[in-house]
Symmetry: C2
Subunit: 341 residues, 2 copies
DNA sequence: TTAGTATACGACACCGGTTACCCTGATTGG
DNA sequence: CCAATCAGGGTAACCGGTGTCGTATACTAA
């Protein structure tokens, strides 16, 4: 195929009247080059539009300039938004990014990821949730011996770069929002009873309720599977003809949508009779009717941060234990309004 | 980072008692090796778990074993499903895949893609819709001079590998479905008036109507932007209190969802009073209520096919003009039912 | 003054494959 | 019987960078 003859390091060296090693030094910002030489070489590189060949660099330097994102999130928009953030910093720092879907049960994920790490020849791996949030899926991977960064809510203070999202605070915020709207009879719809995010969100929910001296009614709690249909079922179970909740906090938008539908089935109007909140700000939150009040994560920024930290670590510019925390934004739409009565 | 000392071609050569060139020949299926030698070498490669180093191969062979997917589709699930198909064949054939989002207006896309092609050092590029379906965005790229494959509905018989989806037949099928349900007053909601898929789908719609001798009523046609809100507006415009359509065929699921909501606003029940069909089988089609009757594309298979053809072409195994056609599957859910009355 | 030590380079091997070219022995055709 | 051909295989250069080490020059310290 048409592969243009590129300018190589040899051309630059010849034009600058120095050895290729010196060009290499300039390229990598190493010391041992005088200021004048450095400038001359840089000028020539710019003039010739020189771009070092990634393949050669990779081979000689025993690296690949390839990063990967491991993902198993059913929310595609989340994955691509994360990718966007990762790509942004990776590309400006000379890396490419490959995607690595993980669709096996988490128990086998560790082995599979270790294998991938060994075979693919990537320089670093970014673990995204929910995979990254399942300790049993990681094990060896997060001991700091592998070039791995992690995006997850929990900070188990591992020796790898981590990006956190404070689920608990986010859940507290939505719940408070409902409380401020006058709701007192508030229920909770979790997803995957064992999932770490759900547990943290439940904790935040309880914090908020406790903060106002409200009891949490176990009869108003249900656990789904993060899907629309499980939300629908949860809604049908929870929305009893009498003594039902006036608001439901759901652990993701799909389930919230299901709950809204269950309410409509039961002849309840949303948000007139029942307020419902989602979580994540997935596309469905916007595309649903009524549009869902929810909380959003700065997903793209989290991707950028993780990548930045990972590359810094790989290149020895920083320790492998950086932790960056991000927080939510409450997105008020129409599925939550003042409590009835 | 822990980078295991890999088995190299030299090790294999030494163990097999041949030159590394011979190992290379075996590796690449070249001739000039006796059957016995070939088998011996292969046995040793297997035994040692030898995997040729992609970087070295890339450097020496002046290739990169990197493919890219250019995408600008707002439907994330579509993009990731495509990726799944692409990854499947790419990986088994020794390639990695990088993602390349394109978010600029199509007029500048061509230059940007050419730039990307030159700078990134990839071996091949897969153009996905809607980008790949906008002739003005491609130009030079699809003249057969660049290592590009295209996934799009139109076959303008270019000299590059192409994968087609027959939008017209799919639209015909959904429309026929509505006709079979007894509908006669059927409207059409397009997206992006100039978009090629919408035009083809309109053609299919007309085919079906003509096939039953039905007129198409221009008052029952509207054009949105492929978004929920534009579907909502279209629905509000079309669903007049009297003399309105009894069914609406929409060009994607988001718009169909918007239309359904408009119907509910207007006091119409779906599918009782109005049947609505979507297109694409996006997640929302399942997550919406009522779940949308729609048509789905074999997206993953299309990704695989495009990749297969592209690699075959790159490796000189096939001509660059292969065209593979795929067709729809009608997904009957609950948003379309028998015509009222 | 002399030795010691940074500083600023260059030479050269090397990363792990591929490409271009050469060599040898056996077979075949005339 | 000899030349041409071909299957089978080896040698060495090369792809475009980086790592290691040697060395000349200038500067510093004793």
């Amino acid at each position: 195929m048409i592969r243009k003859k590129q300018v190589t390091i040899n051309d630059i060296a010849r034009l600058a009247g120095v050895s290729k090693k010196s060009v290499s030094r300039v390229l990598n910002g190493e010391s041992g080059v005088s200021e004048t030489t450095r400038e001359r070489v840089q000028a020539i590189m710019a003039e010739q539009g020189y771009r070092p060949d990634r393949r050669a660099r990779a081979l000689a330097g025993n690296r690949s300039y390839l990063l990967a994102i491991a993902y198993n999130n059913p929310n595609s928009a989340y994955v691509l938004e994360l990718l966007q953030g990762v790509l942004g910093v990776a590309n400006t720092r000379g890396y490419e990014v490959i995607m690595h879907p993980v669709d096996i049960e988490t128990s086998a994920a560790e082995q599979q990821l270790l294998d991938f790490l060994r075979r693919s020849g990537i320089d670093g791996l970014i673990l995204s949730p929910p995979l990254s949030d399942a300790p049993e899926a990681l094990g060896e991977l997060t001991r700091g011996k592998w070039p791995v960064a992690r995006i997850a809510g929990d900070d188990i203070s591992l020796n790898i770069p981590q990006v956190r999202f404070d689920d608990r605070a986010a859940a507290l915020a939505v719940t408070n929002h409902l409380l401020q709207l006058g709701h007192r009879r508030i229920g909770f719809v979790g997803g995957g009873q064992d999932s770490a995010p759900s547990r943290r969100r439940l904790a935040g929910f309880r914090d908020a309720m406790a903060g106002r001296g409200q009891d949490v009614n176990p009869a108003w709690q249900a656990w789904g599977e993060f899907t629309f249909s499980s939300g629908l079922e949860a809604g049908r179970r929870l929305l009893t003809p009498q003594d039902g909740p006036t608001a439901l906090m759901c652990c993701n938008d799909q389930m919230a949508a299901g709950v809204v539908h269950a309410a409509q089935e039961a002849g309840l109007s949303v948000p007139g009779d029942l307020s419902v909140t989602g979580f994540d700000d997935a596309p469905i939150a916007r595309e649903f009717w009524p549009p869902l009040t929810t909380v959003s994560q700065p997903v793209e920024a989290m991707g950028s941060a993780a990548t930045e930290q990972l590359i810094d670590w790989l290149e020895g510019r920083a320790a492998g234990s950086t932790v960056t925390a991000f927080s939510h934004t409450l997105v008020e739409r129409s599925s939550a309004a003042a409590a009835p009565g």
